[in-house]
Symmetry: C2
Subunit: 215 residues, 2 copies
């Protein structure tokens, strides 16, 4: 049994409800953009999905461009959280990187994955494009730093940190292109297969030397 | 000294010249689409780049959509050639796959790379979209088959062929997203770093067990 709900407004409720509604707007937009494409979706479409009027949407976002940006930021925020958790962990560079790969796969298979990958290409204003580029670059730098850390602590073999981060991000971002048509695996299952490939490589390893789970 | 050129038309010349001109049209289109985006490029823009009139373009392609398709096909044709060469080679599955990765990197860093990666998202007609999807699927199937072959001949360790092909193609396709802004490495150099990562993995290998070059 939960607490009895009060018909009187509790302080902070208003802000929380606004937050919940804003999240619902962003989620509806992400789903619509993913389904029909950004250019083929109007604010009217999104309003209709939520059974509200267009002016109601303007209470949460100022235009369609900002809506795409918020979707992008929501998706990338999940990757950033994974990076933050990895930073705080007592683990090798490789283990931390593997945690980021797992969080990235979760984010990219979410409703926000399409926006994360396509936002930059949607003819946004130069200012908006620059903000998106900067956020993406931040994630890229975090991944490179983890690769460098792994090389230093011996958990990652000699490699080019920049190309390694690009290859990882590319493989992960591309999930958004095929996941809509083929969602036969969960995010966690995809992540495990990617981790296995990235950690152990294609070449067979002498038995007992492998696994993405132990350093 | 070359052969003296004849002012009379040699049989076959007409076809060859038409072919050369058609190639020039497709290349100009690929560069314009990559530079400005597909939706922001008109046939007039492409005609202007070639110093011809728009009706001249219609001698080679029937519309802008077909132009994008031809750019896409040109880029993917290069990957298909690499697959064809790999098929004919006396080599392990892994060596063949590595050759495809090299050819793929060459194709994706070419002027056609942008069209290869973005063509499917450009709101083409359903028929055109289906043709592009089919060609892409062919390459995907070739890559999966090489992974399976490598597992069978022992050159590739146990893995999921589909996810492995998706990860490889994703990392390779993503090159088109960053290569325009950062072309500090050649296609061959990028390919070597990717091959090193995919073949050997991030985890350090006991010395003497590695390399993407020998089976």
């Amino acid at each position: 049994m939960g607490k009895p709900t009060s018909p009187w407004q509790v302080p902070g409720d208003r802000e929380r409800r606004r937050e919940l509604k804003r999240d619902a707007v962003i989620l509806a937009a992400a789903r619509a953009f993913r389904e029909r494409g950004y250019h083929n979706t109007s604010l009217d479409d999104i309003a209709a999905l939520l059974h509200v009027t267009k002016p109601t949407l303007y209470y949460y976002v100022s235009n369609k461009e900002q809506m795409l940006f918020e979707c992008f930021r929501e998706g990338l925020g999940r990757v950033a959280s994974a990076c933050g958790e990895a930073r705080g962990a007592q683990a090798s560079g490789r283990e931390r990187l593997v945690e980021v790969v797992r969080g990235y796969a979760e984010a990219i298979t979410s409703d926000f994955g399409w926006c994360m990958v396509r936002a930059e290409d949607q003819d946004l204003s130069p200012a908006m494009g620059a903000r998106i580029k900067k956020l993406k670059s931040g994630i890229d730098q975090e991944m490179r730093a983890l690769v460098r850390q792994g090389i230093t602590d011996g958990s990652i073999g000699h490699c080019d940190p920049k190309m390694t981060a690009f290859a990882l991000a590319g493989a992960l971002n591309w999930i958004a292109h095929w996941y809509r048509d083929d969602a036969s695996l969960s995010a966690a299952e995809i992540a495990e297969r990617f981790v296995e490939l990235f950690v152990n490589g294609l070449a067979p390893r002498p038995s007992g030397v492998t696994s993405g789970k132990s350093p």
